[in-house]
């Protein structure tokens, strides 16, 4: 009897983890398939990826080829890095200040302003792209990466400010008051005393800002019409659409790999903070 129940629990254990491993493979397979296939020599990369790994020798030619389209992969990657890093820095800076302001000060129309920022979540940015384009033109920011950064930061603000205000709300007022009595000025107090206490919130805000600006497609497609300003998704879509001649699938997957790896690495390293941000909305 005991043996049979142990057998049964062993069987269910196998079924459980068998399912888990099978499903994990299904979800990861397309990513692995793409990454492996980029190391095939160009001739082989034109064939169906069966098997996915290189069979006629290892090669990085696909990455080299990609750098010859238009202004090249490296140029688009630089644009993407600039846009993503600037978006992260500005989003963090602006949302930390705003979160602190909304959490710690009492001034007229505070709630109205807070609601205004949150309400922008309801409006799809897809529907206001044309005026955004015209406004950027007015400020002479059309076709500039800076213009794109400002748009991305604005799109991140509702979520980020919400996160940061909650983070500051969770810090006991006494800590701040003690520091104030010791003579710390507002901004110094924010930077030295408060920032370390809300650090997890900052990391969460930064991850979302990075992933969203790194991956964003439609706004970049509409606002960046000059090829030298293409970010990676726009550049790779141009390659895939045959804009630079016959579609080179090996090169396209090389570009996809370059786009995916930073996201995956960042997620695997900082998963805790990412999930925290995701569930913050769900729990509220």
């Amino acid at each position: 009897m005991a043996i049979r129940s142990r057998e049964r629990s062993l069987a269910s254990l196998f079924a459980d983890h068998g399912t888990g491993i099978f499903l994990s493979v299904v979800f990861i397979a397309p990513i692995v398939w793409a990454v492996l296939s980029t190391f095939k020599p160009p001739m082989e990369a034109r064939q169906p990826p069966l098997p996915p790994w290189p069979t006629t020798g290892f090669s990085v030619q696909n990455y080299v080829t990609l750098d010859t389209f238009g202004d090249g992969l490296w140029h688009a990657a630089q644009n993407s890095i600039y846009v993503a890093v600037m978006s992260v820095l500005l989003t963090v800076l602006i949302s930390v200040f705003a979160g602190y302001g909304f959490s710690r000060f009492h001034f007229p129309f505070k709630n109205a302003f807070f609601l205004m920022i949150l309400a922008t979540i309801m409006i799809p940015f897809q529907s206001i792209l044309t005026p955004i384009f015209l406004i950027l033109t007015t400020f002479k920011l059309q076709n500039t990466l800076t213009g794109l950064v400002l748009v991305y930061v604005t799109l991140q603000l509702p979520f980020s400010i919400f996160m940061m205000r909650n983070a500051f709300d969770a810090v006991p007022k006494e800590i701040e008051e003690a520091a104030r009595i010791d003579g710390a000025k507002s901004v110094a107090l924010l930077a030295r005393i408060m920032l370390p206490l809300v650090w997890p919130g900052v990391v969460t805000v930064a991850i979302f800002a990075f992933l969203n600006s790194w991956n964003e497609f439609l706004a970049a497609l509409v606002l960046m019409t000059d090829q030298s300003k293409f970010t990676l998704p726009i550049m790779m879509t141009a390659v895939q659409s045959g804009r630079f001649g016959a579609v080179d699938w090996g090169a396209v997957q090389a570009g996809v790999t370059v786009m995916m790896i930073p996201c995956l690495v960042l997620f695997l390293l900082l998963q805790r903070f990412y999930i925290r941000g995701l569930t913050a909305g769900a729990v509220k």
Partner: protein, 326 residues
Amino acid sequence: MSTLSAKAAGTQAANSKAASTDPAATTPAIRGTRHRRVDRSQWVGYLYIAPAIALVIVFFVVPLGMTAWMSLHNWPLMGTHSFIGLDNYIAITKDVRFWRALNFTFYYTVIVTIAIFAVAFPLALFVERPRPMVGAYRTAFFMPVVVGFASASLLWAWLLNVDAGLFSPAAYQLGLTDKKVNLLATFNPAFWSIIVMVVWKVAGFTMVILMTGLQSIPGELMEAAKIDGANAWQRFRSITLPLMRRTLALALILSVAGSILAFDQFYIILRGGPRNSTLTAVYWIFNQSFVSFKLGYGAALSMVLLVILVVLSLVQLRLLRNPEGM
């Protein structure tokens, strides 16, 4: 007034070293001036929120007003624009291709949302119970979520390609089809390919949302039901589902709102084809505004989409606010 003032004074006393050393602090007159000073010191708050407010106004509130304004104009990219009243909106009512796009968008939204839930709910149940390895599975299921929609679309455009891709050649080599079938050439295979790709990309996201809902259900409740003899299905129906109402509503709304705004995958993988049968609402607005450069008409179309989304958001707020309602 007096309580307000006292409260403000209290804050002041706690905040400022000067207050505690000021011997005149107790006289009413000085307390009055101090009250005003308190308020003014609080106004520093405006400086902290100013950059955020400026950005939101310049890149959100003003464009919103401009969209409404432009929708009442004939507004080409070059040249002058002219006021035409509601003509754009009247044109929309006759724009068969827009209604077809909207129709397709709703069709896609319904199908993809059902598909996402059908996959994400079992996944959530699977990863919810704490046990060895479950963290690794969760991470694996979630990985496609952090890959951007554009990257995922480019990846699947390749996998779905008839010559250099994976699915058609694999099916052919395994003898499942007698020639390589172009999955993207006709509506149904193309549409369902997109559904599979989106489910692969998004299911992990919905899974995590649903998982937080499942984890918030008290374990004792399940135990009590088990002791009372409720079977797994009864427990699911009478405990899990009702207690997850808010979470389900949230996951549902996120999925619906995201799907109505779908663009990337249809643009990158299908270019709206075959024969314009997979043009979504956003795609049509994109075509009108940035391919045909009918900015005024595009703005009017945007307003229609915007109203749909705002109504949806308001319904969402209702669903989330009062759990007893409906």
